[in-house]
Amino acid sequence: MTENFVVGFTIAMGGMGPAIAIGLIVAKALEAMGRNPEASARVQTVMILGIAFAEAIAIYSLVMALILKFT
């Protein structure tokens, strides 16, 4: 029971930060695209890169949770 709680807590805490980060990144990118629609292709590439960086943090905690759960 405690083990399951720890696993759930790991991914919950680890997912929280990146969720906020991705929301902020996309909000700002949409703002930039709205202001300057000609640059939207470039903004999109950079946005996806930024999301990948933020998402990597969530993936670290996901891998930790999976290791805790299944080994």
């Binding site: 960086f53 998402e55 993936i59 891998v63």
Partner: protein
Amino acid sequence: MTKLNVSISAEPLFRLGNIDITNSMLTGIAVSVFLVGFSFWLSRNLKLSKSVKGVQNVAEMIIESLYNLMVSVAGEAKTKEFFPLIATFFLYILFSNWLELLPGVGTIGIMGMDHEGKTLFAPLVRPPSADFNATLGLALISVSMIQIVGFKHLSFAYFQRFINFKNPMKFVMGLLDIISELSKIISFAFRLFGNIFAGEVLLAVSLALIPFLAPLPFMGLEIFIGLIQALVFAILTLVFMNTATLPHEEEH
């Protein structure tokens, strides 16, 4: 509820001398053989005409859109230099990511016993990107190629960004740059492995809970994630290569 079979490491299928041959190794070789064979076959059958049709058209569309994306990131000259490596990364990772969606992958396998009498299950096919060894290998290739490309363009001036005695601040920044190069390996490897392996676990869990219709939206999500992760791996390598070839600015 049926018991889920989730294993973080790839399962060995048989032994060859001292090496365990795992299912992901075999699948990786199969993906390579497929890609090499397909490109070889296509390059023998190229036709030059105003209207290309069929397989050649699809292949040209993929290559062309990837090329245009790379030009928008790195410019024409560097794209011509880096294109083979980056495109290979993209196609190899894309195909191995999408493998997990095929029926039978991860479900058809061999049952066996370990030393303690516990039943083990080894699927015959496991996507290489769901095995940490494979993604670590890809990350090592990518990061060492970044160093090689940087050295090729700037020769010994490239190492100025790592070891710099001009002032204490730059020396500390150089140490931080060394750490960031090492952390690139970890983040490349874990990002790809985590995404694809988590996708596999997600599909397995949703299949075990409700076998019909419920996994469908997740499958769509996995197609998307597989494409995005392949793109992220390729484009990140390109961006890092691009920054490695730029001269290290002296004054800020």
